[in-house]
């Protein structure tokens, strides 16, 4: 009978052991690949959104003539990566007639939102971006093609325009409401039945590479809103937590494997007694662990990818909803994901191999019995080792805390945080042990003293899975704080950027007050908030001190945003710091600054700052600081009256409030009001709604990940608890023999289990809070220069604690009756 048959026979007799080992491996791999794929998919979504949000310029002729196809060719021949956009509006009785947007799929890749990455399986796999579908349509059909949402296409058919019978239509997801997309030649054909407006767009960076020909100038088409820094911060935190989950997974797999080995100690001893050499046994065990790791890892990766595909959909929809991104294609696991998985497996296999190698060496000294197979196992922890380990952990913790306080580089912060966690993780079971020892000494009743001693034994024996559970708890709390913090921040960010119901960009510099008055006249508009942007120079004054003789080198360029303090659209704005009656004070004497400027210049509320706006210098009091996530530049917010139309580089946009946005035919305004002909309108409310809904899915999935981490740690603990409690059956049975009844003993066992996990959770919660603090208060400022708000969620801590109690109870219940008289046979 070969060793393989012996091993198979063992697992046939104890299928639970194999299942447990595989389950943990599968869960660990799934967790890791899930987290990795989520972050990778989200990273790609961010890249796509960056593409969409790249500042776009619209080229206009200096002579004021409308653009033509010759202009496009001229710009292209000048070496500029420009792409045309022909917008055709139809004058019909119906207000909801969709707009046809004609693009040139051949040059669309110049605008990153239409560009597809090389190597993507796009067309054949159904990744239907507008540009690629139109490209296929251009070459693949004699009939012109129109793309849009089902409802817009239905409205299009109702228009019954003459000469459009041969136009094919195709439903495509993720395109903005009220817009249909077509090849530009199709749009040009349709322009006869409506009103066409040709734009030539190019990325802003393009004119830095190749200057525009003299006959043209560029206007800002889209400043975009830029969520990248905000989302990147979220992704970085998720990455950090992903790394922690890798650690949790490796610890769990390791501990489960060690206990599986422990369970087989006797059968392995028999094999040695039967003449199997230690070397051969070692090789067989290594082969076994490799096989199990490979099987569990592969299944786990597959399941993780499945999990991630659901998560990626959340992110994709989010960003496409916000910025009309085309689509995000699910990709195969990244090399990093596989690397992580290989790392988990390498840790598991490598650690197991070290055990097995030690097994051979120790066997030469003292035989297999006792310390042999259990090498590195809990029983080998002598008091001295434990003390040394505790001391080491304490030193690690202290050094890491100092490092965390002092470190400025991101990687050092991560390293120090990891050191803190490792130190705390190593200390936690010991700390628990010491607490129980203390309780044991104070106990007067023998059974209670025995219980304390028994729980201390549990802490020793289960130190590894308990550490893993502590990390899982910390991760859960960290993820929760980060996600919830991000969620509220994101909501606030959206509120700031997508105020009101509609956003109007006039396309050219306009007379602010005149436009404001005109906009108020439009039926359905209830409020108009002009937002005037310009630049100012801030005298680089430290808080409260203003030098009167500063050179121009001390002048710091800053953005200026002029708003009307009386506007109802501003009243709900949240601030990090503010004085009472802020908006009235803004009109009178104040200035509001963004967080970046406050941090960089150490300016606080109450300080006075001096700045030059145009030719004039002003001095005003800082009365509020607002969070401005992600904007790299400093910004001053001033009352509109200070930002006059005479200032150079001034540009006005408008936020509009409407009584009922759904009943206002804003899409038709540019036709109805010729002075709005060059304007762009954006439905703020709809965008906000879809962004919130889509991000909610992402948050939900992240929370699922949290639950998965806890479940994984709980499962591992349960699996090991079953083994450990079985090892402890002797002492329970002894009490039974001494006269204690079976049922109370069983309840006592459950109590032990619940107390250990409950106490551990209590100790681990501060670790989770610490992790949250590291992420939002240390990592984020180091990476991005601004901090996410740190909030505490005691309600969630209570939930986690209850889950831990539940895990303990389940383990206790699963063990069943601890009284087994046969365990006394060998005593």
């Amino acid at each position: 009978m070969g060793l393989g048959t012996v091993f198979l026979s063992h697992y046939r007799r104890h299928p639970g052991q194999l299942a447990g080992l595989l389950l943990i491996l599968v869960c660990a791999a799934m967790l890791w690949s899930g987290v990795r794929s989520l972050t990778a998919a989200a990273g790609n979504a961010v890249a796509d959104s960056t593409a969409v949000l790249e500042p776009l310029l619209s080229v206009v002729r200096v002579d004021g003539e409308p653009l033509s196809v010759e202009d496009f060719a001229r710009l292209r021949r000048a070496g500029l990566c420009a792409s045309p956009r022909l917008e055709v509006r139809f004058t019909t009785g119906e207000s909801e007639a969709p707009v046809v947007i004609g693009i040139d799929p051949l040059s669309a890749a110049c605008l990153r939102k239409y560009r597809q990455r090389r190597g993507e399986r796009a067309l054949a796999e159904g990744a239907a971006s507008v540009a690629s579908t139109l490209m296929a349509g251009l070459a693949g059909s004699d009939h012109p093609l129109l793309l849009g949402s089902a409802s817009d296409l239905a409205r299009w058919r109702q228009l019954s325009l003459p000469g459009v019978e041969d136009i094919e239509t195709d439903v495509i997801d993720g395109v903005p409401r009220g817009q249909l997309f077509a090849d530009i030649s199709v749009a040009a054909d349709l322009a006869g039945a409506g009103h066409g407006r040709l734009q030539i767009l190019l990325p802003a960076a393009e004119v830095e590479r190749v200057p525009l020909p003299a006959a043209y100038r560029a206007e800002v088409e889209d400043y975009g809103v830029e969520p990248d820094p905000l989302v990147e911060s979220f992704l970085l935190s998720l990455d950090a937590l992903g790394a922690l989950m890798l650690l949790v997974a490796a610890l769990l797999v390791r501990s489960v494997y060690r206990f599986a080995l422990e369970q087989r100690r006797r059968s392995l001893e028999i094999l040695i007694r039967l003449g199997v050499t230690v070397g051969r046994l070692r090789m067989a065990l290594i082969a076994e662990v490799l096989l199990i790791a490979l099987a569990g890892g592969t299944v786990g990766m597959w399941l993780g990818e499945w999990l991630a595909s659901a998560m990626a959909t959340g992110f994709e929809s989010t960003l496409s909803g916000l910025f009309s991104v085309d689509t995000l294609v699910m990709r195969a696991p990244t090399p990093e994901t596989w690397l992580g998985m290989v790392l988990i497996l390498a840790v598991v296999v490598g650690w197991a191999c070290v055990d097995l190698l030690l097994l051979g060496r120790r066997d030469r000294h003292g035989g297999l019995h006792g310390s042999g197979i259990q090498a590195g196992g809990p029983q080998t922890d002598t008091g001295a080792t434990s003390r040394w380990r505790g001391l080491l952990a304490l030193v690690l913790l202290v050094l890491s805390l100092i490092g965390l306080r002092e470190a400025g580089h991101l990687w050092l912060i991560f390293l120090a945080a990891l050191g803190c966690l490792m130190g705390a993780g190593l200390l936690l079971p010991d700390l628990l042990n010491k607490l129980l020892a203390c309780a044991e000494r104070r106990c007067r009743r023998p059974l209670l003293e025995w219980s304390c001693s028994e729980m201390r034994a549990l802490c020793r024996l289960l130190s590894l899975p308990l550490t893993a559970l502590a990390f899982a708890i910390a991760t859960a709390i960290g993820v929760h704080a980060m996600v919830t913090g991000f969620e509220s921040t994101f909501a606030r960010w959206l509120d700031q950027r997508l105020q009101g119901d509609l956003y109007l960009d006039p396309g050219v510099p306009v007379a602010t007050e005149e436009w404001r008055a005109r906009l108020r006249q439009i039926p359905g508009v209830t409020s108009v908030l002009p937002m005037v942007r310009t630049r100012a120079l801030l005298y680089s004054a430290r808080a409260g001190q203003i030098s009167t003789e500063q050179s121009t080198t001390d002048l710091l360029p800053v953005d200026v945003l002029g708003v009307d303090p009386a506007s109802p659209l501003l009243q709900a704005w949240p601030f990090l710091f503010e004085i009472p009656d802020l908006w009235a004070e803004l009109a009178r004497r104040g200035v509001l600054i963004n967080e970046q400027l406050a941090r960089r210049q150490s300016i606080a509320v109450g300080d006075r700052i001096r700045f030059r706006l145009g030719a004039r210098s002003h001095t005003r009091d800082v009365i509020g600081i607002y969070a401005d996530y992600g904007r790299p530049e400093g910004e001053l917010m001033l009352p509109l009256a200070m930002v006059s139309d005479a200032l150079p580089d001034r540009y006005s946009t408008f936020v509009l409030g409407a009584a009922d946005i759904h009943s206002v035919p804003w899409q038709d305004w540019p036709q109805q009001h010729p002075w709005l002909g060059r304007s762009r309108l954006r439905d703020q409310a709809g965008l906000k709604q879809s962004a919130n809904a889509a991000f909610a899915r992402t948050f939900q999935m992240t929370r699922m990940l949290n639950a998965l981490t806890l479940a994984l740690a709980g499962t591992a603990l349960a699996l090991m608890g079953l083994v450990i409690f079985r090892l402890r059956q002797g002492s329970y049975t002894m009490l039974y023999v001494f006269g204690e009844r079976c049922k109370p003993l069983r309840l006592r066992l459950i109590g032990h289990s619940v107390l250990v996990t409950g106490l551990l959770a209590l100790l681990a919660i501060p670790l989770g809070v610490f992790l949250s603090w590291v992420l939002v208060a240390r990592v984020n400022p180091a990476a991005f220069g601004w901090a996410l708000p740190l909030h505490f969620y005691p309600g969630f801590w209570l939930q986690v604690w209850l889950v831990c109690l539940l895990i303990g109870a389940v383990v206790g219940v699963l063990v069943g009756n601890p009284v087994r008289l046969e365990t006394l046979k060998n005593e």
Partner: protein, 358 residues
């Protein structure tokens, strides 16, 4: 318009997307019947300068240029620039231009090679806008800011800037024009099918190449091909091996072998004084003698050419390295060195090899 040619267009244009079995599709499309387009046939003749311009009645045509260059300090370079025109609908087109049309699409490939190094970029443009096009007189070919333009009579300038490289070369076509096959009809199989095909050997002077931030003044010689048709290959043909060689004694050789159930080969020998002589398939032997296990599979990189009637016995060896043009229509286009009975240099193009690995 046939399904296969539609698919061809999609694949040709969607650079970077759907790189699965496109190679097979490309060749199957080249084999499709003309479907409304005119087909090149024996008896047709070349008329210049008219035929330097586009032929909208035909489905696919190209202006193809390769050159072997040297810098003053002896560094070797290879340059390829090709402009393709592919018809969506058969011309001539009646709509006024310029305008947004869907009649034809232009695309271009530019490559720069050094021993062990190859750069490739491509572009595409809609016909009818003026973004790309060709005029016969004066001869001008352009797509965006890439251009092959007549500088003065009988002198062209090629100006190309890609990502990481650019070149500007002055080219002098060597007269008279070289007509291939039967007065310009170049058969691609024994049973009919082929293209109209003529060439000019080129002298390259006053060239400037910039690559990886370094500039080189270069000169050398090249080969310009002009070819148009609607159906190039027969259904059983998988691809071709083509080479244009410049021998040290001043002669030039263009040879190709179309691989199929039965290989078809043909060539043209251009004497130093410009007189051209068609080499029929049985007049020479062209055999691969060594293969390279490249990124995309095995490709023959060393060839043995014998032309017994003129006592040519040449070994044609590709420069070391990988010269795949990694667009959707992936093909090998790289410089070669010639040794054996005569020495020389040239360009080797191979299509229909390799697998679909990216």
């Amino acid at each position: 318009m046939s399904n296969a040619s539609r698919l061809l267009l999609v694949l040709l244009l969607l650079t970077g997307c759907g790189r699965g079995a496109e190679r097979d599709t490309w060749f199957s499309a080249l084999r499709e019947p003309p479907a409304g387009f005119r087909q090149a046939a024996p008896g047709m003749s070349v008329r210049l300068p008219r035929d330097m311009g586009p032929h909208p009645q035909y489905r696919l045509e190209w202006w193809y240029l390769t050159a072997n260059l040297r810098s003053s300090d002896g560094k070797q370079f290879g340059v390829q620039w090709t402009l393709f025109r592919t018809g969506i609908r058969p011309g001539p087109y009646s709509e006024p231009v310029p305008g947004w049309r869907r009649n034809e699409i232009w695309f271009a490939h530019a490559a720069l090679s050094r021993p062990g190094e190859h750069h490739f970029v491509d572009r595409s443009a809609r016909g009818g806008t003026g973004q790309a096009g060709v005029t016969a007189q004066p001869f001008r070919a352009w797509i965006d800011h890439w251009r092959l333009d007549t500088l003065v009579e009988n002198t062209w300038v090629l100006d190309v800037a890609g990502e990481g490289f650019c070149y500007r070369l002055q080219l002098e076509p060597q007269l008279p024009v070289v007509l291939h096959g039967e007065r310009g009809f170049s058969a691609k199989s024994a049973g009919g099918g082929g293209s109209m095909y003529f060439s000019y050997p080129l002298r390259v002077s006053n060239g400037e190449i910039e690559v990886s931030g370094e500039k080189f003044a270069v000169s050398g010689q090249g080969w310009f091909d002009r070819e148009w048709s609607s159906q190039y290959l027969k259904s059983d043909q998988q691809g071709w091996d083509w080479m244009a060689l410049h021998l040290e004694d001043g002669r030039h050789l263009m040879l190709f072998r179309v691989r199929g159930a039965e290989d078809f080969q043909s060539g043209t020998l251009v004497a130093a004084d410009g007189r051209a002589q068609t080499l029929k398939g049985d007049a020479f032997s062209l055999q691969p003698i060594a293969y390279l296990d490249s990124h995309f599979g095995e490709v023959p990189v060393v060839w043995q050419l014998t032309v017994p009637s003129i006592e040519l016995d040449l070994e044609i060896r590709s420069w070391p390295g990988d010269y795949w043009n990694r667009g959707v229509t992936r093909y090998w286009e790289g410089p070669v060195a010639v040794t054996g009975s005569h020495r020389g240099e040239g360009y080797l193009e191979m299509t229909g090899y390799g697998h679909s690995q990216n």
